[in-house]
Assembly symmetry: C2
Homo-oligomer: 694 residues x 2
């Protein structure tokens, strides 16, 4: 009880710090008239998208609220539900608590996305303006903007879970919160991801390749949509995504503590183990805030120094979080092995992140004589044309799954050896404990990217663009590590939820020799393929429409291509195309994620559903890594060529590399990340509805 | 006993029929001097490759022979092996029987590949020559060539398994035969697949796209290598592949019958169930031969009629095989349900094949107002450039896994309901029972393709090329169905082998909640990704070298590009590049397939290895379908544009479609098919070595 209040307090501190960072951003000058005008267009487009998206999701949320209240809380089918396990049988809750928690989770996720985006669309103009005065200044503004996002996510997340747990001490209720967060996250990630990549591809292919314009040229009709996309996809989408990872890992671990002592009929829990994830998360928030103080640099900093600045912050925060965790565990009756589980989680996340860096940065890996550089190899293959570039990137992406898979396997092994299946959830909590700062370093990237776009469109001094580019490039590297953490934690969280699911349903084995489990596993393995196929197709379709529209504007608006004074593209039309394409296309994959586990559970039973979750985790994990790394490697291969290698910009090799980069866009920023959420969402849906299928 | 002799007799009839078909091909005129000269070049290149490949594999086979003799037959570790189960404990075999059976399997596979290729490189010139006299004539020659291959494969396969079983009645020994077939098949598929696609890509990209030559233009230095590739990859590689599927499914089913009554300590079998797969295979051979008589057409046949000609043959053979099976089962004490299992297998194969057709042919699917046409959609997306084409094909490929996965799930369900886990193996046997004729229709495609290439290079009448093109296009459609059968039967066979594996190791459950099994499943899921990444990279690297070489020849050989009289490309150099690239690159993936299961079994135990097999089957199945369908869809999207749609040949849209087709090449013809073998090879390695890890 005391510990939980401390966790809530840490969440409060996080929100206060977020408010302070927001204030710090807002008091920065927002730039000259042109900058403000462009900023306003981006703000408008982003808000319009979020408003439309949330109004669609509101309908969905209300329906799910009713479903949860009827089938789970008031339990009209009379099945054993998690909520009723406490009483040892099928009972009715004394209120629609799971449904209300669902609402809270959905609202929390939407709020975190909204706040993050609101500050991002204000931080971008201010970063551009600050970059006129130097690199450090710009870094501070961009990073502060990211910090608002990071701290808001963890603050809302921990307060929500802790408060619900304090009031209800009921795993069904907190699972409801997680379900709310997951379902919004899925739609936000998919919708935002489709939006941003359709705009990005449209802007790049016609603007840069066909019309020969620079990135972010104001004549390009899709540029504003592209900038909006950075905010709705990379900021709001990512915020909702990680909000969900964060609360999901905590909820899964609490559920395992809850049910660890008994399964099926009666209800009990191991309180210290249930509280531990909340405490670790609380410690992590404080550590993240302290780590943020380390992020500052001199004005003459080069890329290497900038990177180390951010790393000091992250490593510092991790170190502090570990120290705090060790002290806390030592002060309780909990076995000290749990500390090593947290370490395991952090190490696994770091290994996956580092592997992603090797596969996607043009530094690659060099140990003595051994050199391994996939990015340069892709760039080199680009010399023999478009297909060679694609084949190279696909092959790199496919086998780049090796290290992450081994790391996850090792992580499962150690976590289980140290603390049983409970350890799998706790490792995920450890991995995400310093999310406050890692998310800040992630979210600052799109802000710097946007700032660069604004600087270009407002014709600021080229020096400004150079500075924002340096910040952006840095953001790409930290984003690689961030993706490693996101995927790794998603897998561990989904596994922990799967274990919790088997406990609440009383499924004691998931035997692959049982044809039902086997069939479930095959269908589960299928879902990430289906899901990413649909999201890729949505990006392709929307991007196609965008390309046609940009071509049309260049064709039909006289003087646009030539840059005639006063001639402006119809940016609103491009924004509308992305918005519609994204919102229409997010429905089907989203519904599949929710309906598939319920349908398999209802038709084939709880064991088949368990198999489905396991199958989805295995194939989804591998697909997600494949897509993230192939996309990242193509992106940097293109940048490597743009540095002047293999013919540089404008060469055929560059054109081939642009093809790779463009294919990689939906891989790494739409389909790949959405798989993470798919896995967790299906697991949490199963956790809540599972008992109905016993 | 009597039934087995009948099976052997059927195999003998198959070989005799193969010889008759070969004689029929050989007495055809082999064409004018130019045709014969080109044919000789292709023959030479193909034989040289096969010789080199087999001489490398010979070393490997000898090593494996020793390993099997020492650890399995003479059982120096003193573990329980399958061979020793009969005596109820660890014993030594009275001879190196498993090792010898391994040799026989390897030799059988190599022989089937060699015979198929030898006749194919002779059938191609004869088909080209026959095409001068009409479509029917050419169809007969090409189809007869394919029939030699199909009947040789099934003949050698059934005689080998039946004879070994008759002599030893020992599942370890017949598993050894399967292992021999699998290991050669893997290397042949990977080596041949890399060869053919490196050559194909090199020939296409530089020849067609850069130099603006027609397909198969004799000035193109990579054309001969490309033609050789058709033989070593699409004929010899496919022959070895399906030889392995065929014997693998029979062996898996026999093993299940052998062990169905007891597990672990003592050894017994259900004789009628063990004999049944051999009998079904025997009936299938006779039915295939009868079906082949139905393949004949008039000279005025159009595409539709040609397709139906082949379909009559296949449907006729399937119908006869089913009737024969029903009569046989009815005449024994076996439950008649087993007949329905065979029907299930055939239906599942047909469903997967038809789904592949929908996703990869430009007819697509049309039911009333509903129209679904992925190929046309890809072609349409190609209008917005290279990346759109790739994104479109990838998305189609990803979600095209849905119907096959549902079909396999349903097949497992029904087979298990009807006959327990034994049914899974039997369904695979049913699916492959008429392999004799389906393989003939598959193998005839590359022969027609080659014939077209020869006609082009020898400057035969354009009418000849048109006729061979018609045959080739038809081959693509039947190949789609063939791929469905290959993948579907691979999954069922691998699953049956997995079940047999658990029986010989005494593993009674593969519980995903057991961390060892879970870790095994993750690692197993990883292997197809790693494997296809490596094979894709090998194709990319070899194709890159080929492209450089072709560019160099056009640059350095004066008069080559202009087609000056007497100037010839250095075809031998191109052949050497493909050969070296393929042989070097096949080693690593091949070794992984054999070492990974042994390492996991030895380090983590029999349960982890079971998980590894299951994980590999789930992810491998989905990846294989994804790759096959994406590749097929891109191929036909390009062809659809070449028919004059969306700008036709030479347009930007066409260039984008060529990119898609080229990326699809290693997808559908190297990495995808090799996954099938990977799954079965790992399962059979586990079946043989599994008992050592208990």
């Amino acid at each position: 009880m005391g510990s939980i209040l401390l966790a809530i307090a840490a969440g409060g501190v996080g929100l206060v710090a977020a408010a302070l960072y927001a204030w710090r951003v807002m008091r920065q000058p927002s730039g000259n008239d042109t900058v403000r005008e462009i900023g306003a267009l981006i703000q408008e487009g982003s808000s319009a998208f979020l408003r439309k998206e949330y109004s669609i999701l509101a309908v969905f949320v209300v329906i799910m609220f009713v479903v949860l209240a009827v089938f789970i809380d008031y339990n009209v089918l009379g099945n054993t539900t998690i909520a009723s396990l406490r009483e040892g049988g099928a009972v009715t809750s004394d209120g629609p608590w799971t449904a209300l928690a669902y609402l809270a989770g959905a609202a929390g996720s939407a709020l975190a996305g909204f706040i993050g985006m609101s500050i991002a669309v204000r931080g971008n103009t201010r970063t551009a303006t600050a970059a006129q005065h130097g690199l450090n200044k710009a870094l501070q503004v961009a990073f502060s903007t990211g910090a608002v996002m990071g701290l808001t996510v963890v603050g809302i997340g921990i307060i929500g879970v802790s408060a619900l747990w304090l009031i209800f001490e009921n795993p069904s209720v907190i699972a409801g919160f997680g379900f709310g967060a997951s379902s919004i996250a899925l739609f936000a990630r998919v919708g935002g991801g489709i939006y941003t990549k359709a705009a990005d591809i449209g802007a790049d292919l016609v603007g840069k390749v066909e019309a020969g314009l620079e990135e972010d040229d104001p004549r390009n009709p899709a540029v504003i949509a592209d900038n909006v996309g950075d905010n709705v996809g990379d900021v709001a989408g990512m915020g909702a995504d990680l909000f969900e990872s964060y609360v999901g890992s905590i909820i899964a671990t609490i559920s395992l503590a809850f049910l660890a002592l008994s399964a099926g009929s009666s209800y009990s829990f191991d309180e210290p183990k249930a509280v531990l994830p909340l405490v670790i998360a609380g410690i992590g928030i404080i550590a993240s805030i302290l780590g943020m103080f380390l992020v500052r640099t001199g004005d003459k900093a080069d890329m290497g120094k900038l990177l180390w600045t951010l790393r000091y912050g992250i490593f510092g925060a991790s170190g502090l979080a570990l120290i705090g965790t060790a002290i806390y565990i030592n002060s309780t009756d909990l076995p000290f092995n749990l500390f090593w589980v947290v370490v395991t989680g952090i190490v696994v996340g770091q290994v996956i992140g580092t592997s992603t860096e090797w596969f996607t940065s043009y530094e690659g890996l060099k140990i003595g004589k051994f050199e391994f550089n996939p990015v340069k190899w892709i760039a080199q293959q680009a010399q023999t044309g478009h297909p060679s570039t694609i084949i190279a990137g696909l092959s790199i992406g496919l086998y780049s799954t090796v290290i992450p898979a081994l790391a996850i396997a090792a992580g499962i092994f150690f976590a289980n050896e140290l603390a049983g299946l409970y350890g799998i959830g706790l490792a995920a909590v450890g991995m995400l404990s310093t999310l406050g700062i890692t998310l800040a370093t992630d979210a600052y990237g799109p802000v710097a990217d946007n700032a660069g776009g604004i600087a270009q469109q407002a014709h600021l001094d080229p020096e400004v663009r150079k500075r924002t580019d340096a910040l952006d490039a840095l953001g790409n590297t930290t984003a690689a590590t961030g993706k490693g953490f996101a995927i790794g934690s998603a897998v561990l969280t989904a596994l922990a939820l799967l274990v919790a699911y088997t406990l609440v349903t009383g499924v004691t084995t998931l035997d692959l020799l049982n044809p039902k489990v086997l069939i479930g596993t095959i269908l589960g393995g299928l879902l990430p393929f289906l899901f990413s196929g649909l999201t890729m197709q949505a990006v392709g379709t929307a991007a196609g429409a965008m390309i046609e529209e940009v071509r049309r504007q260049f064709r039909e608006i006289p003087g646009l291509r030539e840059g005639k004074e006063g001639v402006k593209p119809d940016a609103a039309r491009a924004v509308a195309i992305s918005t519609e394409g994204a919102l229409k296309a997010m429905i089907l994959p989203g519904m599949i994620a929710i309906i598939a586990p319920i349908a398999v559970g209802a038709l084939m039973g709880a064991e088949a559903l368990g198999g489905l979750l396991a199958g989805s985790i295995v194939s989804g994990f591998l697909l997600a890594i494949f897509m993230a790394n192939a996309g990242g490697a193509w992106d940097n291969a293109k940048k490597y060529i743009e540095l002047g290698n293999f013919g540089g910009k404008g060469s055929d090799t560059h054109a081939a590399a642009v093809t790779g980069d463009t294919v990689g866009d939906p891989f790494k920023d739409t389909s790949g990340p959405a798989i993470n959420i798919l896995l967790k969402l299906m697991a949490i849906v199963s956790l809540i509805f599972g008992p109905l299928f016993v």
